[in-house]
């Protein structure tokens, strides 16, 4: 697999990251080298092997439907750079 400029741009959009012109070649090369290396997994036959997202069979972890106090609003927005009237403030997102 080869990461082309187009593909790099595409994943940059998905990740919301700018790749500056200076970093571009280096980033592309490094990612390519790593992705190429990842391709050695193709040596392994994994037909009929179930993908394992958890190493241990923990199942059915639930919480009862009982209300607990929420966190103070001041604390919720404490770390926000822009806030107004108890809300997070962002550039216009709704028409």
């Amino acid at each position: 697999m080869k990461i082309t400029d187009e593909l790099l741009d595409y994943i940059g959009i998905l990740a919301r990251l700018h790749i500056s012109d200076e970093e571009r070649e280096k980033t592309k090369q490094e990612i390519n080298k790593i992705v190429e290396y990842m391709d050695i997994l193709n040596e392994l036959d994994t037909t009929n092997i179930e993908a394992m997202s958890h190493a241990f069979p923990v199942r059915n972890v639930f919480r009862e439907d009982i209300v607990q106090p929420s966190v103070n609003r001041e604390d919720i927005i404490l770390n926000a750079a822009n806030k107004k009237e108890g809300c997070f403030k962002v550039p216009k997102a709704v028409e």
């Binding site: 997202s53 059915n60 639930f62 439907d65 209300v67 403030k89």
Partner: protein, 478 residues
């Protein structure tokens, strides 16, 4: 060229749990912005989700009520995208193994029965609310709704027109309400639908390109959106243009849909299994337990009302279509044991007053047992039907108790013959002209005299009794 429409529906319903899906914050609607929020639902670094068991129960209930298979081993996945209403920048949802699959809901439109297949039902979390701030021309973000549990109910593209969609939604809404899964308050966004629509020439096997219209929140708007989008697509095809696969927003005020900005909207959600949650295993025992706890569902109820109470199908459809009307029906019936009367009152006065006062069925607040009592009071001749309607208006608006109210306002029918006789005599005495005419054989004055009597009796007398006594007194004059 004639076209036919192919429609599919994705319905989102907010569940009637007390707490959010992954944290213990309240799901209560309203409240000051960001006051029903904690470190988990606001996506603070280091926080982890823990699943609310009630959400799973509600999902199983809904699956059973819509004839689905319950997925014995199901998991959550992350759907990744950036938007300010989604604090973690991923929505925890179910893509690969949704909790319910392969169900159906049967509908009937204009006497034609049809089965709408349900592809799947999955659990997920709701997003926050964005508020436009005109002063700063910016957007304010409130996370109170963030993490409220949702079920997404995905149908197959089995609808061919808006009427079918509305019939399906009506039925689905009734099921969700009956099972206590959701209050389905569309105006609060607890029931919303996305419509997938494509058109194709009649008879063509090939499906057209479909568009999706998101988050339409009233039945009427859905019907209009379907009609509008259908017309738009047909127009495009007729002009030789292509329908583009895209997400559109229906503006119900303008009666038109708009393509949503797609510049940064690559529809690549990079789903993967949510590593912070463990799989859910549902065994037969659990499913049986939920099945046992299910109430009688709309379809079964309808069949029973038809066979047991012999009510008109139209009335039964209306009543069983709403959990709240059913509640009124059943409570009133329990008191008076007269299904026909209760049904008539609901179809007549209850719905009339609800419509006049723009009251939704769920907001009707009178004690339905009192309607049963009122019906008995009419039956036992304590009040007449007209008075009963007046009393009911008071019950509807102020939840008054009918017996007390009738007593306090002296509305009982006068069943005492001597009292009626007294009034009749007075009327005869004070209307000598009419009596003269009567004596001359003008029978028409009877009606006038009768009206005078009733007026004096303030409508509280049984008209049959008044007629009888008036006739007796008049005949003495002959």
């Amino acid at each position: 060229m004639e076209f036919e429409t192919v429609l599919g529906l994705e319905v989102h319903t907010e569940l009637a749990t007390d707490t959010k899906i992954f944290c213990s914050c309240s799901t209560e609607f309203g409240g000051e912005p960001n006051t029903h929020v904690c470190e988990v639902c606001s996506g603070m670094p280091g926080t982890l989700p823990v699943l609310n068991k009630q959400v799973v129960e509600f999902a199983i209930r809904t699956g059973l009520a819509t004839n689905c298979e319950i997925t014995r081993y199901n998991k959550f996945d992350r759907k990744n995208y950036f938007y300010p209403d989604l604090p973690k920048a991923y929505q925890v949802s179910q893509l690969y193994l949704p909790i319910c699959q392969n169900g159906h809901i049967d509908i009937e439109v204009n006497g034609v029965k049809k089965s709408i297949r349900i592809k799947e039902i999955h659990m997920e979390e709701d997003a926050g609310k964005l508020i436009h701030d005109p002063w700063d021309d910016c957007t304010l973000v409130d996370y109170n709704r963030c993490g409220v549990p949702l079920l997404e109910i995905v149908s197959e593209p089995d609808f061919s027109n808006g009427e079918e969609v509305i019939a399906y939604l009506t039925k689905l809404k009734a099921i969700l309400q009956y099972t206590g899964v959701s209050d389905c308050k569309m105006e609060q966004g607890s029931l919303r639908a996305d419509v997938n629509l494509s058109v194709k020439p009649v008879g063509s096997k090939e499906l057209g390109t479909r568009t999706e219209m998101k988050n339409i929140n009233s039945f009427k708007a859905i019907a209009r959106a379907i009609e509008g989008e259908r017309a738009r697509q047909i127009e495009l095809i007729k002009e030789g243009k292509k329908v583009i696969q895209e997400t559109r927003r229906w503006d119900d005020n303008k009666g038109a849909s708009y393509a949503m900005r797609s510049k940064e909207n690559a529809q690549d959600y990079r789903y993967f299994p949510e590593p912070d949650l463990v799989p859910i295993e549902i065994d037969d025992e659990w499913i049986e337990k939920v099945r046992q706890s299910l109430p009688e569902l709309p379809e079964a109820k309808k069949a029973r009302y038809l066979s047991e109470y012999k009510l008109p199908e139209y009335d039964v459809d209306i009543i069983t279509g709403s959990k709240d009307l059913v509640k009124i029906f059943e409570q009133a019936y329990e008191v008076c044991q007269n299904a026909k009367e209760v049904s008539n009152w609901i179809m007549g006065e209850v719905l009339r007053l609800a419509s006049e006062t723009s009251t939704l069925p769920e907001d009707i607040s009178f004690d339905a047992k009192n309607l049963g009592k009122l019906i008995l009071l009419v039956k036992n001749g304590v009040v007449n039907r007209n008075t009963a309607k007046e009393v009911f208006e008071k019950m509807f608006s102020d939840n008054v108790e009918p017996e007390q109210y009738i007593e306090q306002h002296n509305l009982k029918m006068v069943n005492d013959d001597s009292a009626v006789k007294e009034v009749v005599s007075k009327v005869i005495e004070s209307n000598p002209d009419s009596i003269e005419q009567f004596k001359q054989g003008n029978e028409k004055v009877n009606k006038f005299l009768m009206g005078q009597c009733m007026k004096q009796l303030k409508g509280k007398a049984n008209p049959a009794v008044v007629t009888k006594i008036l006739d007796e007194e008049l005949s003495k004059l002959k």
